[in-house]
């Protein structure tokens, strides 16, 4: 037991340091909150127009509303940009210093990524959920408000799924960090991965609203586990065995992407040529 504690100590310390640091960016969180409320409103209006114009829909309007608000609340959980600090280190060459740490290189950056994907969303999700879930009722906009989870079981599974989101998202983020080292710049990575994540996680348009023939593929791809899976569980769209299978897919993708990241890290670092001097 004490051996495990000793092994984990550096990674815990990195997590804690990043976490407390990121919690300090309150102004950015507030600005993000305001923007995300605004965008949430626009998305809802578009969806409302859509739901009024079609006869059958793959999800209820309330489920779509919940999906949008949760999407806005947990937007920063998505791995749509490279850790700016790592991008800076790659540009300046400080990234070589990372090799001087007696740590598992992948776990070191994975711990950082997990910190970024817990601290930042935490600051934004709480006011967002409070606003969409409570204030909207107070202001008489109940039909636009976030409803509570579909049941106790849904709530518990949702929580579990969100934990897996953090692990999956951080695994993808770490892969993006490593790709930045390989490419020596974060721009290409951001331009390539960002849009894919926004579309295929369900952040832009809820995945159930995509064409039927696409559904099986959408369900199996890893990015669905970033947002679509927990939100469907929340609204009761996935329940029982369906929900468990969805959790299984999230866990499987997390493991696959972590292993891929470890392999990729080893190859990139072996090639790393800290240049200059």
């Amino acid at each position: 037991m004490s051996a495990i504690v000793a092994t984990l100590r550096p990674y815990q310390a990195v997590f804690k340091a990043r976490f407390t640091l990121l919690l300090q960016y309150r102004a950015a969180a507030f600005a993000g909150f305001v923007t995300q409320c605004w965008w949430g409103g626009i998305k809802l209006m578009v969806l409302a127009a859509f739901f009024r114009s079609v006869r059958t829909t793959p999800m209820t309007f309330q489920q779509a509303v919940d999906y949008v608000w949760l999407g806005q609340a947990f937007l920063t959980l998505l791995p749509w940009s490279v850790d700016p600090e790592i991008a800076r280190m790659v540009r300046s060459g400080d990234v070589a210093y990372e090799r001087l740490r007696p740590l598992d290189a992948h776990a070191f950056w994975y711990a950082r990524a997990i910190a970024r994907r817990t601290a930042t969303p935490l600051l934004r999700a709480i006011p967002m959920v409070l606003t969409a879930g409570l204030l909207f009722h107070v202001f008489g906009m109940s039909e636009w408000a976030l409803s509570p989870p579909a049941g106790v079981q849904a709530a518990a599974l949702f929580f579990l799924s969100m934990v897996l989101v953090i692990l999956l998202s951080s695994a993808i983020a770490t892969l993006m960090d490593i790709a930045t080292v390989a490419a020596l710049s974060e721009r290409g990575v951001n331009a390539l991965v960002g849009p894919l994540v926004i579309v295929f996680s369900g952040s832009l348009v809820p995945l159930p609203l995509f064409p039927d023939w696409l559904q099986p593929a959408l369900r199996l791809q890893p990015l669905a586990g970033l947002l679509d899976t927990p939100f469907r569980i929340y609204g009761g769209h996935f329940a029982g065995l369906d929900a468990l299978a969805a959790l299984g897919r999230q866990a499987m993708w997390t493991i696959v992407l972590v292993l891929l990241g470890r392999l990729f890290m080893r190859r990139v670092m072996a090639r790393l040529q800290a240049q200059g001097g």
């Binding site: 990195v14 640091l21 600090e85 060459g93 400080d94 210093y97 001087l100 040529q273």
Partner: protein, 331 residues
Amino acid sequence: MPSTHIVIEGLTKTFRVAERRIGAMGAITGLLQRRWRTVQALRGISFTLEEGELLGLIGPNGAGKSTTLKILCGILEPSTGRCQVGGLVPWRDRVRHVARIGAVFGQRTQLWWDLPVVESFELLRDIYRVPLERYRKTADELIALLDLDRILGTPVRQLSLGQRMRCEIAASMLHEPRVLFLDEPTIGLDAVAKLAVREFVKTLNREHGVSVILTTHDMQDIEALAERVIVIGKGVILADGSLDALRRGALAERRLWVHFANDVEDVRVAGVSVRRRQGRSVELSFDPRVTSAHRLIAQVAAEFEVEDVHLEEPPIEEVIARFYALHAVEA
């Protein structure tokens, strides 16, 4: 009996660099077919370092100093050659190796930009798994030696370069490594900060027996610290020995300032040349292997009325410049 700490044998390193073709057409053809250029950074470097030794690595920009240091740190893998630090191969046993070394790259930072210094230290403590009591003792000692007390609470980005460098060096020693690699630790520092860094490195080496390899362009660093100097140029070792030996080999001349009591027309002594005149003072340069200083003084005093004499050696910068010129490496 000190034992061998570092062994390097026949180290070579070749980089492949993508070459950019000139002009718009060049950019387009470059998209289709990359042209590579190989750069030989090291062409066979060998030396050993005893435990507790302090070695200065000097050489012009691009000579291969930093590449050597990066290989020693485990950041780079050499193309061929052998390298062992304390029995470990740096790039192969990276995790175990880096836990036992300290490194400071003058132009880089290992402190966390947004964190106060003390939090950076505590993070390093956990990363290197230093036991708490051990850390407290080492940190207190380092803080006192480098005078960091007043800046511990300051975020790193607000520190001056001199303050930051003192913190960087402390940070590299928190896990008490037995060897310290310093890459241009005094670059850009003011005189006071340079002195502080030198003083600290000296203490570390002399009193705590830490082996040190340092690269620098500041010859005062070398004069103050290194008993042994290795000169690297174009990826090979040009000289390995004491500063005095280097001086004898490159620029043995010594200089004698003579201040005469009255105006003197012309000073002519066999085998001696006049470098400069300043009023009644004349600077003579002579080769100590031909004429000894006391014979020259006696000779001059016999001929002229001398008020004062002052003997000096050429500044070390000049010696090194001459050495580079002799070996046809560009500084």
